[in-house]
């Protein structure tokens, strides 16, 4: 009830603001409204603010203020394979996000189908369990949704709803072992501190199968790139599920429940599902498709040092540079083409910082004749899975991984 009263007050406040009129609103344009960036989304709208208004964050593309959806400006990905914390993308589901975290009082509860319920302090986690770390890409299920054609509703991301960090934490397996998983456990469900504004709306929760949860790779992280998390990236604890889409990487993780029945909660069973088809792709309007929870990521690659329409010189070497990731495995190779996929050349790869992370690639290209070109890149992962040459489509705008292209001009 308290929530509903709060809701009423908020609505009333907004109605009053509305009555104040357009002029007053124009005057109250927030001071943090700074630069505008155009995202090349087919049909638009393409203008987005670059905001620096979020604490602990640098310049970010503002997709939604509340709950925050902040996209990483794409030029950040040219600087290296690790995405800086202050420009790592942000995506929340519900607006009630705690903004005051007392590290002495925070606890992580482990309960359900276990021998003993645990209530772990941050000290218990940081100092009572072995510390592990690995590099891994965290990518929103709907990264690049804005490029879907026909367009679909949802966060209208360009390609910046992804990032790669070195994650430090403890193994989920060690925490589960400490609680003692009982025979018959089937899944483990994760919940964070965010809450819906409307009291009876579904709390955000995600589940993993018990064997996946105990694989020794899934991690409860307390640091990214050697620092504690920015609050909006999930401080103080975040689940890290290497190779899987970010929907499973529950932020502000404070509750782990071992289940002896499959999870039927909305966010696992209904939301974040994909067609059970190759590339999760269907025809627009296609009905009666079997849907399954989104899961492993697929390979992707990008050019990071050439912008659309950029001019390069003929007869001289041009450096091409970018990043790739294999999804649920490492990068085996990156190929590029400047003749619309008729011929491909392999690009030398940079240092391997871990199979789940970004891998830089770089090549030298000398074009002999001027004209318009399109630079295509294609990653093949170490499981032999390559990016497809046609875009997938599904109504939620999930799992885009077509071989991307950038148009440029040789003069």
């Amino acid at each position: 009830m308290a929530e509903n009263r709060a809701l009423h007050h908020m609505v009333t406040r907004r109605r009053l603001l509305g009555a104040a009129g357009v002029g007053a609103l124009a005057l109250s344009k927030p001071s943090w409204a700074q630069a505008i960036i155009d995202l090349p989304l087919p049909g638009g709208p393409d203008a987005r603010q670059i905001t620096t208004a979020f604490p602990q964050k640098g310049p970010m593309i503002l997709q939604r203020t509340r709950p925050p959806l902040l996209e990483t400006p794409f030029e950040v990905f040219d600087k290296g394979v690790f995405t800086p914390n202050d420009q790592f993308y942000v995506r929340w589901h519900w607006a009630m996000i705690p903004t005051d975290i007392d590290t002495d009082k925070f606890t992580l509860t482990v309960h359900g189908h276990v021998n003993q319920t645990l209530s772990l302090s941050l000290k218990d986690i940081l100092h009572g369990l072995p510390s592990v770390q690995l590099a891994a890409v965290n990518q929103c299920s709907g990264n690049s949704r804005g490029f879907f054609e026909p367009r679909v509703s949802g966060g209208q991301w360009a390609n910046g709803a992804m990032g790669n960090a070195l994650w430090t934490g403890v193994r989920l397996k060690d925490v589960l072992d400490k609680a003692g998983v009982k025979p018959g456990a089937v899944q483990v469900r994760f919940k964070g501190l965010e809450e819906p504004v409307v009291a009876d709306a579904p709390h955000f929760m995600k589940s993993l199968d018990i064997d996946h949860a105990r694989d020794g790779e899934v991690m409860i992280a307390y640091a990214m790139n050697g620092e504690q998390f920015p609050l909006v990236n999930g401080f103080p604890l975040r689940l890290v599920v290497p190779g899987w889409y970010a929907t499973y990487w529950v932020k502000m993780l404070n509750d782990i429940e071992v289940l002896n029945q499959p999870d039927t909660n909305y966010w696992t069973k209904v939301a974040y599902t994909i067609p059970d088809t190759p590339h999760a792709s269907i025809k627009p309007g296609e009905a009666n498709v079997k849907m399954i929870p989104i899961n492993r990521m697929v390979p992707r690659s990008f050019v990071t040092n050439i912008t659309p329409g950029q001019q390069v010189k003929t007869g001289a070497p041009t450096t091409l540079r970018g990043i790739a990731f294999g999804g649920d495995s490492g990068v085996a190779r990156v190929d590029y083409s400047v003749d619309r996929g008729q011929s491909w050349r392999e690009a030398p790869l940079g240092k391997d910082e871990g199979k789940y992370g970004f891998r830089q690639w770089q090549a030298q290209l000398t074009l002999s004749s001027p004209g318009k070109y399109s630079l295509l890149t294609r990653c093949t992962n170490s499981n032999g899975v390559a990016q497809p040459d046609t875009p997938n489509w599904n109504p939620a705008g999930f799992m885009r991984n077509v071989a991307e292209s950038i148009d440029f001009v040789a003069t």
């Binding site: 907004r14 203020t65 509340r66 607006a95 804005g146 367009r151």
Partner: protein, 110 residues
């Protein structure tokens, strides 16, 4: 100092290219207290703008909707019904229709 020691751990692990398990870390977390920015942006005036302003802005700011592409009336109705049925938005039935009409007028597919 803690940051430096963690960095040393990171450098070691990168050098060994393994997934190393270390003894309990010396890392410490500091409490955080911030204020998140809000948005007072309203939907542009038009038939149904009161309905959308009064019903939708408690859970999310208007920029999310204004950033959406043009969608068919049917797609907008699906969106509004999702907010009501899945996300429990307390929207009166007469307002739901007005909101769908408003969105279709503002951002309807041509």
């Amino acid at each position: 100092m803690f940051r430096r020691s963690l960095l040393a751990v990171i450098l070691l692990s990168v050098a060994s290219m393994q997934l190393p398990a270390w003894a309990a870390s010396a890392f410490e977390l500091k409490p955080v207290k911030i204020d998140l920015p809000d948005s007072d942006k309203m939907f542009p005036d038009g038939p149904g703008s009161d309905a959308i302003n009064n019903n939708c802005l408690a859970c999310h700011s208007a920029d999310m909707v204004l950033n959406q592409p043009a969608l068919s009336k049917q797609a907008w109705a699906t969106e509004v019904n999702k907010m009501i049925n899945n996300y429990k938005a307390p929207i009166a039935p007469e307002d739901a229709g007005a909101i769908v009409d408003y969105l279709t007028a503002l951002k309807g597919a041509k």
